[in-house]
């Protein structure tokens, strides 16, 4: 578990280093994700420790949002004054995104004939 965690933070560290070196506006952990994906592809399998450590982190992903979410107490004033645009953007934006994504996915999979296999 320590070895797997060390691998995760190493990927993140290299990611942070690379985005600063290349001055690209991408979060370091995202580059770390791609590095780990590359590493797994190169190994050809996921080592058991990496599998279980990442499952452990991802099953309780919600916990990790709590400290940042609590930061909403700093923004009460903003939310009180801008609740209308915020609610409108969240509700309508999420519905539109769901509809566009599902329709495009279906249209393209029909065009390419990929839909026949797993229709049921």
């Amino acid at each position: 578990m320590i070895a797997a965690f060390s691998l995760l933070v190493l990927c993140q560290l290299i990611g942070e280093f690379l985005v600063r070196l290349a001055r690209v506006p991408v979060p370091g952990p995202v580059v770390g994700l791609l590095l780990l994906l590359g590493f797994l592809a190169w190994r050809g399998r996921v080592p058991e420790a990496v599998q279980s450590t990442s499952r452990g982190l991802l099953t309780h992903l919600s916990l990790l949002f709590v400290p940042a979410g609590t930061g909403v107490m700093l923004h009460m004033h903003r939310l009180r004054t801008e609740w209308l645009p915020v609610i409108a953007a969240l509700v309508a934006g999420t519905a539109i995104t769901l509809i566009v994504t599902v329709l495009v996915f279906l249209a393209v999979s029909r065009l390419t004939g990929a839909s026949i296999a797993a229709r049921k």
């Binding site: 933070v9 990927c11 993140q12 506006p25 991408v26 979060p27 952990p29 995202v30 770390g32 994700l33 791609l34 797994l40 996921v46 990442s54 982190l57 991802l58 309780h60 992903l61 919600s62 916990l63 990790l64 949002f65 709590v66 400290p67 940042a68 979410g69 609590t70 930061g71 909403v72 107490m73 700093l74 923004h75 939310l79 801008e82 209308l84 645009p85 915020v86 409108a88 953007a89 969240l90 509700v91 309508a92 934006g93 999420t94 539109i96 995104t97 769901l98 509809i99 566009v100 994504t101 495009v104 996915f105 279906l106 393209v108 999979s109 390419t112 990929a114 839909s115 797993a118 229709r119």
Partner: protein
């Protein structure tokens, strides 16, 4: 005796240990409630834990900065957790390759729609620039969304709130919406909810079908990457 207790309280309330412990227990309590409710998406563990913690902080007159001294140890794990998203993505790699075309096109369309619709609507109804920047990445998983917002000069903690609300909304909407549209392809349904509503949408998809859940997980990871690249590029243009 009361004086001894109050001086211990003064010491502990400023220590990271107390607020780290409070964060963990608030989450465990909220998670228990979520399980008890039959994993009802309306009983969201993050929002319950946050409300409980804010109530305690306000009641004890504790500043958010003091709280964060302890909570930062949990917050720090967001980075490694983002890296760990590579594992489910790799596990489903065969499926990703087989459906690469519909997924790529739906990913591009959905990702742009998520950013443009939320920022566009909020702008039209009159939100200020900081709020707009904090809204742009609301559809992707919190660690990525917060990092993106930080990069373009929004408020990461405001983004966290938007992301969580988006996840809850997506999880509530998805089943009635797609049933009304008569969409039966679970791959398409899962992909859409993972893209639009990240981890909370993915958790919901797994309750409906395993196939939907797997596709939701893939969409969440892919949209995280695409949004992380797109939003800073778009922000530089405007």
């Amino acid at each position: 005796m009361p004086q001894a207790i109050s001086s211990i309280w003064v010491y502990l309330s400023a220590s990271p240990l107390l607020w780290l412990t409070a964060t963990l227990w608030a989450y465990l309590g909220a998670h228990w409630l979520h399980e008890r409710s039959g994993r009802n998406p309306l009983v969201n563990s993050v929002s319950i834990a946050v409300i409980a913690l804010i109530a305690v902080l306000l009641a004890t007159g504790t500043q958010y900065e003091t709280y964060f001294q302890g909570a930062q140890f949990v917050h720090f794990l967001l980075g490694p957790a983002t890296v760990a998203l590579a594992v489910p993505l790799y596990n489903h790699w065969a499926t990703v390759r087989r459906l690469i075309l519909p997924m790529t096109v739906a990913l591009a369309a959905g990702s742009v729609t998520a950013i443009a619709s939320s920022v566009g609507i909020a702008w039209a109804v009159g939100a200020d620039p900081i709020t707009l920047k904090s809204l742009a990445s609301k559809s992707v998983t919190t660690p990525i969304a917060m990092a993106v917002t930080e990069q373009i000069g929004g408020l990461p903690s405001l983004t966290a709130v938007f992301v969580i609300l988006t996840g809850i909304l997506g999880a509530i909407m998805v089943t009635p919406l797609f049933n009304a549209m008569r969409i039966r392809d679970m791959r398409a349904r899962g992909f859409a909810v993972g893209l639009a509503a990240h981890g909370i949408g993915t958790a919901r998809a797994f309750q409906v079908s395993d196939v939907a859940g797997a596709f939701a997980g893939i969409a969440m990871a892919l949209n995280g990457i695409v949004t992380a690249v797109l939003v800073p590029l778009l922000a530089n243009m405007f």
